[in-house]
C-alpha cells in the first residue's frame, strides 16, 4: 500500500470550500423554499461530507477495497432509512 501524498494546497482549498458551504447552508435556511429547505440543507451536508471523505480521509486515493467498504456502508444506511420510511410514506395509500 503506497500512499498518495496530497498537497497542503489542496487541503486548504477543501477547507475553504467547506467554510463557504457552511455559510451557504445557513443562508439557505432563511430563504422560503417550502419542503425544499430540508432537501437543500441535506444536499449541501452530503456534498461537504463527500469532500471530507474523499480528500481528508483519502478515499479518493485509497485501494478499491476501502472505497467499496465506504460505499457499502452508506448504501446500507440508505436501506435502513429508505425501507423504514417507505412504510411511513405508504401507510395512507389505499
Amino acid at each position: 500500500m503506497s500512499e498518495h501524498i496530497v498537497s497542503p494546497k489542496l487541503y486548504l482549498g477543501i477547507i475553504l470550500t467547506l467554510m463557504v458551504l457552511t455559510a451557504v447552508t445557513v443562508g439557505a435556511a432563511y430563504v422560503e423554499l417550502g419542503p425544499w429547505n430540508i432537501v437543500v440543507a441535506l444536499v449541501i451536508a452530503t456534498f461537504k461530507a463527500t469532500l471530507v471523505v474523499l480528500y481528508f480521509m483519502h478515499v479518493r486515493y485509497s485501494p478499491g477495497r476501502t472505497q467499496l467498504i465506504v460505499v457499502a456502508g452508506v448504501f446500507w444506511l440508505g436501506l435502513l432509512l429508505f425501507m423504514t420510511l417507505a412504510d411511513y410514506a405508504t401507510r395512507s395509500w389505499y
Binding site: 435502513l80 417507505a86 410514506a89
Partner: protein, 557 residues
C-alpha cells in the same frame, strides 16, 4: 473407527496452548485466540444451562391449562429470561465466538486473529453484559419478552428492564468486535497459497456472519439505548402519548434481530459444510455456489425484517415488499440443502458422531426452513403470527439448526481442541436422543399454533392440553440429550484416548498441526497447495492407497 489403526498411536505433544502457561492470570489475560475460545465455551455453556433451566420450568408449568407451577408474573419472567439468555448470551456468540475464534486462524494458517487484544476485550464485554443481565434476572427479573417491545418495556413493565437493556447493549459491542476481527483476519491474515476459493466453507460462513454483525448490531445498540433512556428519563421516542411511535421501535429492533437469526444459522451451516465432505470424503458439491449462497443469505436476509410486523400496523404495501424479499431469501437456503445432499452422492460415507449431528441438522433445518414459508407468506401469516407455530418454527431453526450445528462442531473439533477422543457409542446415542427429544418437544407446537394457541400465555384453553403434554414429555428427553455430552466430554478430558493430529481424517489446515495445537498454531507458516476438501490429491492424510469405487468417471465442474 478411523485410519489411525494402521499407523503407530500418536502421543499428545509436550507443549501446547493448554499447558503453555499456568494460573488464572494466564487465562484471564490471554490473547491467544484458542484460549479465548475456551473462555467463551465455558461462559456460553453457563448461559445455555441457565436458559435451559428456565425452559424446563416453562414446559413443566404448561402441563395443565391453568398452569401447574408458576404465577403469571414469574411465568412471564421465565420466558423472557429464557429468550434473553439463549439468544443474546448463548446463540449469537455460540459458534462464532467459540469455534470461529478457535478455528478461523487455524483454518487460514495464521498465528492469531488480526487484533488479539480486541478479541480479549470482546470476551470481557460479553462478561460485563452477561453480568448485567444476571443482575437484572436476580433483582426483580425481566418480563418484557426478549423483544423489549415499547411501550410495555419503556413505560408499563415493573421489572428490572434497565440493567437487562444495558447488558444486551454492551454485549452487542462484543459481537461487533468479534465480527470486525473476523473480517480483517480473513482479508489480511491468510497463509501463502490460501486463496479466497480455497477457504473452507466454515470461513466463508463466518465472513458472511461478520458482515451482519458489523452492519446490524450497532442499530440494535442504538435502539436499546433509546428505549432504555425512554424508560429511565420518561422520554417519548417510542411512546405515542409523548409523540413517539411504537412501530418505529419494531423497525429498528428487527433491522438487527431478524438478521441475528442468520448470525445463528450461517455459522451452523458452515459447520455442516465441513462435516459432510469430511465424512463423505468428497469435495463439497458446488463450492462457489455455497459461498455465494452464504453471502446472499447475509445480504438479502437484511432486507426482510418487517416480516415480523405484517400485522403490526405497517403499510400494506411495505408488507408486500418485505414478503417478496422474504421469499427470495428462501432460495439460497434451499440451494444449500440440495448441495449438502448432493455432496453425499457417490461419497464414501461413514457415520461417526459429527455426521449424525449433520443428518440431524439437515432434517430439522429442512422443517424449520420450510415452515418459515408459512410465516413469510402474507396470507398464512395473518393466521399463525404470534402463535405457537412461530415458536415451533424458530426453535427448529435455532435449536434444530444452530444448536445441532454447535453440537456437531463440538464433536467434530473436540479431538483438536482437547487432544482426546470421547466415547463414540455414548456420543451417537446422545445425538439420537437429542433428535428424538427435540422433535417430540417442538413438533406438537406447530399443530397447537395452527389450532390457534397464542405465544407467551401462562394459561390456556383446555383443548390445547394434549399438545402441551407431548411437548413437555419431549423436553425431558431433550434435557437428557444435552446433559449426556457434558458428562462424557468432561470424562474424555482425562480418560479419553489420544486423538492424534487428524483422526477423521479431514483436509483442513487445522488438522495439519498438533492436537492440541501449539500457542503459535503452526511450527512453520504453512503453504497451501491444494483445493478445499480435496481428498484425491492428499497422500499426507494417511489414506495410503485410496480406493475409488468403480463406476463411470464424472467430469469436474
Amino acid at each position: 473407527m478411523s485410519a489411525t489403526e494402521s499407523r503407530p498411536a500418536e502421543q499428545l505433544p509436550e507443549k501446547h496452548y493448554l499447558n503453555a502457561d499456568y494460573g488464572i492470570r494466564s487465562w484471564l489475560l490471554t490473547t491467544d485466540h484458542k484460549r479465548i475460545a475456551l473462555l467463551y465455551l465455558v461462559s456460553v455453556t453457563f448461559f445455555f444451562l441457565l436458559g435451559g433451566v428456565f425452559a424446563g420450568l416453562i414446559r413443566l408449568h404448561l402441563l395443565t391449562p391453568k398452569g401447574a407451577l408458576l404465577s403469571p408474573e414469574v411465568y412471564n419472567r421465565m420466558f423472557t429470561m429464557h429468550g434473553v439468555a439463549m439468544i443474546f448470551f448463548f446463540l449469537i456468540p455460540s459458534i462464532p465466538a467459540v469455534f470461529g475464534n478457535f478455528f478461523i486462524p487455524l483454518m487460514i494458517g495464521a498465528k492469531d486473529l488480526a487484533f488479539p487484544k480486541i478479541n480479549l476485550l470482546s470476551w470481557y464485554l460479553y462478561m460485563i453484559g452477561g453480568a448485567l443481565a444476571l443482575y437484572s434476572f436476580m433483582s426483580g427479573g425481566l418480563d418484557t419478552g426478549w423483544t423489549f417491545y415499547t411501550p410495555l418495556s419503556s413505560v408499563y413493565s415493573n421489572s428490572a428492564v434497565a440493567p437487562a437493556v444495558l447488558g444486551v447493549f454492551i454485549n452487542g459491542f462484543s459481537s461487533i468486535l468479534t465480527g470486525l476481527n473476523f473480517l480483517v483476519t480473513v482479508h489480511t491474515m491468510r497463509a501463502p497459497g490460501m486463496t479466497w476459493f480455497r477457504l473452507p466453507m466454515f470461513v466463508w460462513a463466518h465472513y458472511a456472519t461478520s458482515i451482519i454483525m458489523i452492519l446490524g448490531t450497532p442499530v440494535v445498540a442504538t435502539t436499546l439505548a433509546l428505549a432504555g433512556m425512554e424508560r429511565l428519563f420518561h422520554l417519548g421516542f417510542f411512546n405515542p402519548q409523548l409523540g413517539g411511535d411504537p412501530v418505529l421501535f419494531q423497525h429498528l429492533f428487527w433491522f438487527y434481530s431478524h438478521p441475528a437469526v442468520y448470525i445463528m444459522i450461517l455459522p451452523a451451516m458452515g459447520v455442516i459444510s465441513e462435516i459432510i465432505p469430511t465424512f463423505s470424503r468428497k469435495p463439497l458439491f458446488g463450492y462457489k455456489v455455497m459461498a455465494g449462497a452464504s453471502l446472499a443469505i447475509a445480504i438479502v436476509g437484511f432486507l426482510v425484517w418487517a416480516h415480523h410486523m405484517f400485522v403490526a400496523g405497517q403499510s400494506a404495501y411495505a408488507a408486500l415488499a418485505f414478503s417478496f424479499l422474504t421469499m427470495l431469501v428462501a432460495v439460497p437456503s434451499a440451494v444449500k440443502t440440495f448441495n449438502w445432499t448432493a455432496t453425499m452422492y457417490r461419497g464414501s460415507i461413514s457415520f461417526q458422531t459429527p455426521m449424525v449431528y449433520a443428518f440431524g441438522f439437515l432434517g430439522l433445518f429442512l422443517v424449520g426452513g420450510l415452515t418459515g414459508l408459512f410465516l413469510g407468506t402474507l396470507g398464512t401469516d395473518i393466521h399463525i403470527h404470534d402463535t405457537y407455530f412461530v415458536v415451533a418454527h424458530f426453535h427448529y431453526i435455532m435449536v434444530g439448526g444452530a444448536v445441532m450445528g454447535y453440537m456437531g462442531a463440538l464433536h467434530y473439533w473436540w479431538p483438536k481442541m482437547s487432544g482426546r477422543m470421547y466415547s463414540e457409542t455414548l456420543a451417537r446415542f446422545a445425538a439420537v436422543v437429542l433428535f428424538v427429544g427435540f422433535n417430540l418437544t417442538f413438533f406438537p407446537q406447530f399443530l397447537m399454533g395452527y389450532a390457534g394457541m397464542p405465544r407467551r400465555y401462562h394459561s390456556y384453553p383446555p383443548e390445547f392440553q394434549i399438545y402441551n403434554v407431548l411437548s413437555t414429555a419431549g423436553a425431558t428427553i431433550l434435557a437428557i440429550g444435552y446433559i449426556l455430552p457434558i458428562l462424557y466430554l468432561l470424562w474424555s478430558l482425562k480418560f479419553g484416548p489420544v486423538a492424534g493430529r487428524n483422526p477423521w481424517p479431514s483436509t483442513g489446515l487445522e488438522w495439519q498441526t498438533a492436537s492440541p495445537p501449539p500457542t503459535e498454531n503452526f511450527e512453520v507458516t504453512p503453504v497451501v497447495t491444494w483445493e478445499a476438501y480435496d481428498f484425491e490429491n492428499r497422500p499426507d492424510l494417511g489414506l495410503d492407497k485410496p480406493v475409488i469405487p468403480a463406476g463411470p468417471a464424472s467430469g469436474h465442474d
